[in-house]
Symmetry: C2
Subunit: 345 residues, 2 copies
């Protein structure tokens, strides 16, 4: 039987209103009674009841807008599943949610969506493009009391309410660590990166190279190329690389385009090449099953969606971030044996 405002009021011989004013720092209360109430609250170990707050919060009619670069992007399906799980909670608090989707990473498009969201929403969940224009808008929204939670992408701006994404440098380092454990003394490595315009892809490459240089300076980095997350481009480039560098015995794919890279390797009959990649889309699952991809560094996509929404709801209702957020999003290693091929991650 935890302490309630009512119990404290009775004990202090004042009304519930006064206790409420004290505990929520609303002012207009006699310093003496304030002190007395705080004392009693402490002694009784008062913590506000979440259900009570939740119920009362319903009248406020909060709105959350979500902006995602998710159109035609396989990876985001799971993120959206997680968002939906969080939206059931939003519903309980009478919070309305709008999901605004865009295709690709065009700054102007995202800026327009942010303008729209800024007009209606009390909080924004943003799959941010790392660009000064966006950073400006986010800062401006904050100054007008609209907080932003970034999701999946890292943004070079520290003043967001929360950043729900993986440490991409660690992701790259983890891929490198795996290669180090699987390769022998001779290593000729190719990096197939996504796009130089995406901060996370760059960070993965940085983490990967740093780790190799530190732990295996004898390894040879042959070349790196961009796939632009495009299957055809990835296929053609990988094919060329394999013929010009037949000594290649390891490939790190930072993001999309895995199907192209893997097909080139498969067709060349180079099952000996150690392929490490990121995420766990259907394509990745397929090639892990086939044994072409030896391991993948995944990033809890569903959880990212859920935690972002859950944190937004929680913040609006309770004025603070939930404990669950502080575990962070982790870089998880999956191989054939511990991968769940049924669920798409």
């Amino acid at each position: 039987m935890p302490a309630t405002i009512k119990m404290i009021a009775e004990r202090a011989g004042v009304s519930r209103g006064t206790v409420d004013r004290v505990l929520n720092h609303r002012g207009n209360v006699n310093p003496d009674t304030e002190k007395k109430i705080l004392d009693i609250a402490r002694k009784m170990g008062y913590t506000p009841n979440q259900a009570g707050i939740a119920l009362a919060a319903r009248k406020k009619g909060y709105i959350i807008d979500v902006i995602l670069c998710s159109v035609e992007n396989e990876f985001f399906e799971e993120v959206i599943n997680g968002l939906r799980r969080g939206m059931q909670e939003a519903d309980n608090f009478g919070i309305r949610v709008n999901i605004l989707e865009m295709k690709g990473y065009d700054v102007i498009t995202q800026a327009d969506l942010l303008d729209k969201a800024g007009k209606e929403a009390d909080l924004i969940i943003l799959n941010a493009i790392n660009d000064p224009v966006i950073i400006d808008k986010v800062a401006d929204l904050k100054s007008r009391g609209v907080e932003t939670i970034t999701i999946n992408t890292s943004l070079e701006y520290d003043d967001v309410l929360a950043a729900v994404c993986v440490d991409y440098v660690e992701s790259g380092a983890t891929a490198a660590g795996l290669m180090g454990l699987m390769l022998g003394d001779v290593a000729n490595i190719v990096i197939a990166m996504g796009s130089k315009n995406v901060l996370g892809h760059n960070e993965r490459v940085v983490g990967f190279i740093e780790n190799i240089k530190k732990r295996h300076p004898e390894y040879n980095l042959i070349t790196s190329f961009e796939t632009k997350d495009d299957v055809e481009l990835a296929y053609n480039t990988m094919k060329e690389v394999l013929s010009s560098h037949p000594e290649t015995n390891a490939v790190y794919i930072t993001s999309g385009g895995q199907r192209g890279v893997c097909r080139a390797i498969e067709e060349a009959g180079r099952k000996d090449i150690i392929v490490i990649t990121s995420d766990g889309t259907r394509t990745v699952q397929e090639y892990v099953k086939k044994g072409i991809i030896r391991a993948t560094v995944m990033q809890e996509a569903e959880k990212q969606g859920y935690e972002a929404m859950h944190s937004g709801v929680y913040y609006l209702v309770y004025g603070e971030l939930p404990d669950s957020l502080f575990g962070g999003i982790r870089n998880e290693i999956y191989i054939q044996e511990n991968m769940r091929f049924d669920t798409f991650i």
Copy 2:
């Protein structure tokens, strides 16, 4: 603005009481009005408000008892952290929680604790010993309306409300898969298992051997021994094995006693040996850092605690299990690069 009982009542021209009776199947309602109300509820997309239920549930004064074989067991510290996180929720619903701890795996001791818990609790979270006596008691409790959620250990009894633990066979297979990826053509493997009396430890060994036989039939399994999760025993046995089988180049440690095994390997100057283990206790972290343990298969200990408590609370209050439970507990692979050395897991 989701539909509420009040809105449905207004629309149907009846009182909230009647709507409540229909939606919660309490009987005593005219079939015609029942049908009408169900129709309206469906049309309005009614889902009960969790905060409302939560608030009302407070008056019931539920009790949850937790029984853990956790005394002097490093691994359980994180499980208990998770339980505590879940207990904050229990508090909100006015649910009282008692944690009963025991040392080791004595069936009589656990049976006594179960008897005690059965008298006071509405639901039990049980770190079950897989023994017919325990299974009987759990079945008996169920028949008296007290549900059990097992935590961390697998129990050969399917009728529990939920089983919050990892797939141990998959855990062993994952360790085997990792070895296959790290070893070359020659493999002489030693298995250091915990205790034959612990179901999970056996299952890990089964999963490990099955996987090796299937994917690397050419590998050689030299021997296996029990550590009884005892550091000294593990050290002495491993030392012997190393001198009688110097060809050993891989060791799988299923559970406790890692410090003993690793020390023996370290002292023998055998840094070439590939060591794979389970969990992420401080000891494991230390040897991962040193590079003796190449990888460990972890089991989300904190999450196990949280999900067990959260599910119990959720079930008592809402009469069903939460969505979050269905992601399950996963076997996660950690190497030096993606391990969090600050937090103890």
